[in-house]
């Protein structure tokens, strides 16, 4: 034995006992601590003259289930996991090896107890277990036979207790391995793999799992377990699917929309330009419309206006330019797209008005024809009066001659002449009406038409002691209308109103009020009088069959002509009248139905196509 090994032996004898990082204590049959090393003292504190149960567990009496007693009895070593209290009174977990010291005669005078503090390890182990069980995915550990070695709580909740079973049997309801098995791939190459699986849960419902497999442990080169982590993506997939459907629904809807739809993003780049918009703006199918192109097609001021407004900006009738520079009548609505008050972009809705205009024109035409039909019926009334006049004249003439009554003959002649005169007037007016005149649209100031008519009648009204006035809103914007046509309408209405005053019982304090104003985007002309008014049967006739109550003074065509012109302006005419009180005629011309003012060259084109 050389010196160094001697020294080693001395070190082992003198120091090893205290150097071992594990508590060692020796107890005798009466549970007294006989000797203990430093590590033990570090753990449990003072031990001299104390019983083991007092030191380990702060008890006053022997533990109910005492390993030491058993080992004294049978001489067998024991390992146990215990919980006691350390020198500071804190709970401590430790593993205790109890080794009996057996004499040659078989007597066991002492036990050696070796204690390892596992409080920390246990803490970590518990944390791991918690993590393993509570992590929001299902985890299982699978061996090379594809048997489930271990699985976390979540996995158990979904599939029940499947430890020891074949994974493909319990999760996939298969008799053999899945074709695409990420776990097998990991076993094959020792790398991580991902996959997608449709599994059947213990409640019989299927679910979509996203699976990731990780090599769990190596034993040298030998890989024997794989950890499989799965996330249930059924709900996500479902949402994704729903989102997809919703998205394609929107896309189809936008594409199928009869109205043109254009959407710009925050930077004003064109993001949506649907089929209808392509048709309206003459944009070829695969052409991507740029910012600048759009600015040429839709007035830039409009886009600016939309982005500065909170709600919609609507132009009921405006003109856009197509990509190839043609003008087109459209209804344009711009919407500022905002989410929680954040500007997201701009959407335009564009309605092609060409077809609508054509239909409106056709409708006006058929309304006009219907009106002509009504006139013909109403005409009979006028013609009959004329015939009566002629027949009367003839009768007077004939009977006067046979009776040699010169006075009667003369009267008969006068009647004939008068009624022939009426017939020519009637025929002339009727021809004017039935031929119609082409409507000549120009930008006009609505109140000026009324001003003109009122000044035309001013003298006339004054002569018969009727007060004729015109009031108008100042801010009525110019509108496309047939100035002369509207002039004729108001002439008829004001003329009628003056006549109504003349026919009334009153001979003073008679008024005709003409008013021009705008209400609900419609230009309104009102002609009110406090003249004779109309009784029920006259009122009923006014718009159904045109007739005159003015005898020699009227042809019954005035109101019909008025109605026709108003209809040509897309407007309507209504009337309120009370016998003896007066009458109000009201012409209402909604701006969005007014004829479109088209430049001269296009006007002639339209005229050709729509006679």
């Amino acid at each position: 034995m050389n010196i160094s090994s001697q020294q080693l032996n001395i070190w082992i004898k003198d120091h090893l006992f205290d150097a071992i990082p594990m508590g060692i204590a020796v107890i005798d049959k009466d549970f007294n601590l006989v000797i203990a090393n430093q590590s033990f003292e570090k753990m449990f504190g003072a031990w001299k003259n104390r019983k083991c149960y007092s030191v380990y567990k702060s008890r006053d009496s022997i533990c109910p289930s005492c390993n030491g007693s058993a080992s004294f009895e049978d001489g067998v070593s024991r390992v146990s996991q215990e919980v006691g209290f350390n020198k500071n009174g804190r709970m401590t977990r430790y593993i205790k090896h109890t080794i009996p010291v057996i004499q040659e005669d078989g007597i066991i005078p002492f036990l050696v107890e070796m204690t390892t503090d596992i409080t920390e390890i246990e803490q970590v182990r518990r944390e791991h277990q918690l993590l393993f069980d509570q992590v929001p995915c299902s985890i299982s550990i699978i061996d090379r036979d594809m048997r489930v070695v271990k699985c976390n709580k979540r996995m158990q909740e979904l599939f029940g207790n499947i430890e020891g079973q074949l994974c493909y049997e319990v999760m996939n309801e298969r008799r053999d391995m899945c074709a695409e098995c990420p776990a097998k791939k990991t076993f094959d190459d020792g790398k991580m793999h991902s996959g997608h699986a449709i599994v059947t849960k213990k409640d019989g419902k299927t679910a979509h799992f996203l699976v990731r497999t990780v090599p769990l442990s190596f034993d040298g080169e030998y890989l024997d377990q794989v950890m499989e982590m799965s996330v249930d993506v059924t709900q996500t997939l479902k949402l994704e699917q729903e989102l997809k459907i919703a998205h394609s629904f929107m896309e189809i809807m936008i594409d199928a929309s009869m109205d043109g739809i254009i959407a710009l993003d925050q930077a004003r780049n064109v993001r949506i330009f649907n089929k209808a918009a392509r048709a309206i703006f003459n944009v070829p199918e695969h052409h991507r419309v740029t910012k600048n192109e759009l600015n040429d097609m839709i007035p830039e001021e409009f886009t600016e206006k939309v982005s500065s407004e909170i709600t919609h900006v609507s132009l009921p009738e405006t003109t856009i330019k197509t990509l190839d520079g043609q003008s087109r009548p459209v209804r344009l609505i711009g919407t500022n797209l905002r989410v929680d008050n954040n500007f997201m972009g701009i959407a335009f809705s564009i309605q092609d008005l060409r077809e609508l205009k054509r239909l409106e024109k056709e409708k006006l035409e058929s309304e006009r024809l219907a009106a002509v039909g009504q006139t013909v019926a109403g005409l009979a009334h006028g013609v009959k009066n004329l015939i009566s006049g002629l027949e009367g004249g003839m009768y007077m003439l004939n009977s006067g001659m046979s009776k040699s009554n010169i006075e009667r003959v003369q009267e008969g002649m006068e009647m004939l002449v008068r009624n022939i005169g009426r017939i020519s007037l009637f025929v002339k007016e009727f021809l004017t009406f039935s031929k119609g005149r082409k409507i000549r649209v120009k930008m006009s100031e609505p109140e000026l038409v009324a001003d003109d008519v009122v000044s035309l009648y001013a003298e006339n009204a004054k002569n018969v002691n009727i007060e004729l006035t015109h009031t108008s809103d100042n801010d009525i914007a110019p509108a496309p209308m047939d100035y002369e046509g509207m002039h004729e309408c108001l002439t008829n209405l004001v003329g009628n109103a003056i006549d109504a005053c003349r026919f009334s019982d009153k001979d003073s304090g008679r008024h005709v009020w003409v008013r021009t104003f705008e209400k609900n985007r419609a230009i309104v002309y009102e002609v009110e009088d406090d003249g004779c008014g109309m009784d029920y049967e006259v009122k009923k006739k006014v718009f159904t069959n045109f007739f005159t109550t003015k005898g020699l003074g009227g042809t019954g065509l005035g109101l019909l002509t008025t109605q026709k012109i108003v209809q040509e302006h897309g407007g309507s005419i209504t009337m309120q009248s009370e016998e003896g009180k007066g009458t109000i005629f009201r012409i209402s011309l909604p701006r969005n139905r007014l004829p479109i003012l088209i430049e001269n060259n296009e006007q002639s084109k339209t005229d050709e196509s729509i006679p």
Binding site: G382, M396, M415, F503, Y536, E537, K540, N545, F547, T548
Partner: protein, 134 residues
């Protein structure tokens, strides 16, 4: 004694014509073209029959007829409505009933469409007056 007929039409030509024809057929004819004189003329003329035009400015014949029928002194005077309207344009017993808007008022004794045929008028007047005298 001559039966007295009152004609109300806003067209003086028709008044003259009918008056001449009535006188030629043995009636006394009076006419007015202004509805405002209606009741006073009835009082002064005390007509046996009234020929009443419907469409007149200011007030229609229907409205005058209602006044007449609501006046106990003259509510039994026979009336012939005369109009340039045709049955298609409501000049029919149903149409007039509709215009009257009052079920309690009886319809007129006759309806005469313009242009007036004198023999038809005379026959209608005679029929109505002979019924009245029964």
């Amino acid at each position: 004694m001559y039966k007295s007929i009152l004609i109300i039409d806003d067209e003086p030509d028709i008044c003259k014509y009918l008056m001449a024809a009535l006188e030629d057929n043995g009636f006394t004819g009076t006419s007015i073209s202004d509805h405002q004189l209606f009741m006073s003329k009835i009082q002064s003329v005390q007509p046996d029959l009234i020929i009443l035009d419907i469409m007149m400015p200011g007030r229609s014949g229907i409205s005058l007829y209602k006044d007449l029928r609501n006046n106990s002194a003259y509510n039994d005077v026979a009336v012939i409505f005369m109009s340039g309207m045709s049955p298609e344009n409501d000049f029919s017993p149903e149409g007039i009933r509709n215009f009257l808007q009052d079920e309690s008022i009886p319809l007129s004794e006759g309806f005469l469409e313009k242009p007036v045929q004198i023999p038809e008028l005379i026959q209608m007047i005679n029929t109505i007056l002979s019924k009245e005298s029964l």
